[in-house]
């Protein structure tokens, strides 16, 4: 039994207001594949209050067992008690892999747990695989390959943590596919006792305000995205104009966000959203790998750019070499003419 536990794959299932986050369910699906490759079990970890339904939900996405800690003190996420319980569980059961969503909660929690357990942690992975590795003449069977674009252009780095037993990674929402399993295993929910600690009261939630995101980029069939190449906020309005005519959502690259053309919530790419719309129109976007990671699986991609050598054209189905300021109004006219 111990042997098996030592190679288990864990997914921290994040819940907000009693509802499992999409990214956690996506991670369970990926975790299932990793557990299969390692011939081990997939365990979901659920913390909250009255969240049995969340634990029960995980089996449809491939988990073999759910570890559930329920207590009013865990109803809303707080670093202290969440960290303490997870660290204790990891020390006791020594999972081989622990995955977290790269959400605000995941990015608050995962580094603390990695630090407390002296584990390696890779942020914002775009792929995870299991492989037998030879590294510095030592062989490591069934290691977790943590794959992510690296700073500096068109480079993909594969990160490993060969010397730490528990390997940890965070993944953004939308990166892994949501594929419920055909034959879920029999639900096994194991309740873990909550233990209070005086340090929990050092930090209190005074007020909490959440509204569902009004932005629905993830399920939008058409997305019009603009990049830094548009030059000014004024020019970026053309992106909004085209989106309005097409009934599309507006998105942008990180550079466009940094330049203040568009809010962070609409950033597409490795450190933003990963989307797969029916149509993605990329305007003034050069196509750095970090951006492509978030959109290259779109059904059809149209790229508009003045630079014929821009890498975005390599992932595009339709390429238009030209100045967006001239092309967009013409495109709007052409579309309006066909609607009549």
């Amino acid at each position: 039994m111990n042997q098996i536990k030592n190679s288990d794959v864990w997914v921290f299932v994040e819940q907000r207001d009693g509802k499992a986050a999409d990214v956690s369910l996506e991670l369970l699906c990926k975790g299932r594949k990793l557990a299969d490759a390692m011939e081990s079990r997939l365990i979901s970890i659920v913390l909250g209050h009255n969240v049995d339904a969340v634990a029960a939900q995980t089996f449809a996405y491939g988990s073999n067992e759910s570890l559930l800690i329920s207590n009013p003190a865990l109803e809303h996420y707080r670093t202290g008690p969440y960290e303490r319980h997870l660290v204790k569980l990891i020390h006791e059961m020594r999972p081989r892999i622990v995955l977290f969503g790269a959400t605000i909660i995941g990015r608050d929690l995962a580094p603390r747990i990695a630090s407390a357990t002296q584990s390696g942690l890779t942020a914002d992975c775009t792929d995870l695989q299991i492989a037998d590795i030879v590294y510095l003449r030592q062989s490591y069977p069934r290691l977790l390959l943590q794959i992510r674009p690296a700073f500096g252009g068109n480079i993909i780095a594969t990160i490993i943590t060969p010397e730490t037993h528990t390997q940890m990674a965070t993944v953004r929402e939308g990166v892994m596919e949501l594929t419920p399993v055909e034959c879920p295993s029999r639900p096994v929910i194991t309740s873990i006792t909550f233990t209070a600690d005086p340090t929990d009261d050092l930090l209190q939630i005074i007020e909490r305000h959440r509204e569902g995101s009004k932005i629905n980029l993830k399920s939008a069939p058409i997305v019009v995205a603009g990049g830094y190449g548009l030059g000014t906020k004024e020019n970026f309005r053309l992106v909004n104009d085209l989106a309005k005519v097409l009934g599309a959502e507006v998105a942008g690259t990180r550079a466009a966000v940094d330049a203040g053309f568009i809010p962070t919530e609409r950033q597409v790419g490795q450190t933003g959203l990963t989307i797969r719309p029916k149509l993605y129109i990329a305007i003034g976007i050069s196509g750095a790998i970090q951006h492509r990671a978030g959109m290259q699986e779109s059904n059809k991609i149209v790229a508009i750019n003045v630079d014929p050598d821009a890498p975005i054209f390599d992932v595009a189905h339709y390429g238009i070499v030209g100045d967006a300021i001239e092309v967009i109004p013409k495109l709007i006219d052409a579309y309006k003419a066909r609607l009549k």
């Binding site: 990695a114 059809k300 013409k330």
Partner: protein
């Protein structure tokens, strides 16, 4: 007296990548990029300075990096930091977030007593957002990540507003606390002209050692003392100055390893080129309507 420590990082200026810094294979030559103060760290320092301006106390700014990282410390002094500390040692090279946070936690402990630690949410060269929380964990203190604003400090507790997925929350934490700060939290103040004139001559131990090497008429101890008296000495800490285990810093203390790096070969889709003319664009619209993508 309230003591805040701001952790800052010198990063390559990825916002201004031009053709000059690209290698032939399309990668970025990091050494050719200008090095700047990480933007969210600048916002973090601004919050620390506002806390000092409102509640009194002092702000110490810390960076870990190569000797030239002292450039960003001088910038922090121009903005208003009370003192600066460079943490630099070859033994720290190659550190991942775990090893970095280990050294930083030791530096913060050395600078104790402290009430608040400020850091940017993340650095633009790695985007991991891990060093802040990992430093807090090693210090055994609470954290408020994604800080949007500080509401109040009283009775040994800080109240701050932070971003959460889909909203915000207001937390009150007993100090000491570590805060990571998002860019929108504060517009950093410009350099003070007076401070710029004063602190442009602030020097680290490494700077002074180099001066002595180049000029046999100078004595190191005397130089340090002179700079210290004029408030122009940037404290410089190496591994020997800190209570650290050698196997927990630098590459040795870093569990994450780069196994391999692949250049991405773009396979090139079966792309159709559209002329940017009325006819060309009409053809595109028609094709998309035909495929039931546009309606």
């Amino acid at each position: 007296m309230l003591h805040s420590i701001a952790l800052v990082k010198q990063v390559p200026d990825t916002a201004n990548i031009s053709g000059k810094v690209m290698n032939d294979d399309g990668t970025v030559n990091r050494s050719k990029l200008p090095a700047v103060l990480n933007s969210e760290d600048r916002s973090a320092l601004e919050l620390a300075l506002r806390v000092r301006d409102q509640y009194g106390g002092r702000v110490t700014v810390v960076t870990m990096g190569p000797p030239r990282a002292s450039d960003v410390l001088r910038e922090c002094l121009y903005m208003g930091a009370d003192s600066a500390c460079l943490v630099s040692d070859r033994k720290f090279a190659g550190a991942d977030t775990l090893a970095t946070s280990y050294v930083l936690s030791k530096v913060v402990q050395k600078l104790a007593p402290f009430d608040l630690v400020f850091a940017g949410r993340q650095a633009i060269d790695g985007d991991t957002a891990q060093v802040g929380p990992q430093t807090a964990e090693k210090l055994g203190i609470s954290q408020i990540t994604y800080t949007e604003s500080i509401i109040d400090i009283c009775d040994g507790a800080i109240t701050a507003r932070r971003r959460i997925d889909g909203g915000y929350e207001i937390l009150r934490s007993q100090m000491p606390t570590l805060l990571t700060v998002i860019k929108d939290a504060a517009v950093p103040r410009p350099f003070s002209a007076k401070r710029l004139m004063a602190f442009k001559n602030a020097r680290t131990l490494i700077d002074l050692e180099k001066l002595v090497e180049d000029n046999s008429l100078l004595y190191l101890d005397k130089l340090i003392e002179e700079n210290r008296q004029r408030g122009l000495y940037i404290d410089t800490l190496t591994a020997d100055d800190l209570d650290i285990q050698a196997d927990r810093c630098g590459l040795k203390g870093s569990p994450t390893r780069v196994y391999k790096i692949d250049s991405v070969v773009l396979t090139g889709r079966d792309r159709q080129n559209i002329e940017p003319t009325r006819d060309g664009l009409t053809g595109l619209v028609d094709a998309l309507i035909r495929d039931h993508i546009l309606g």
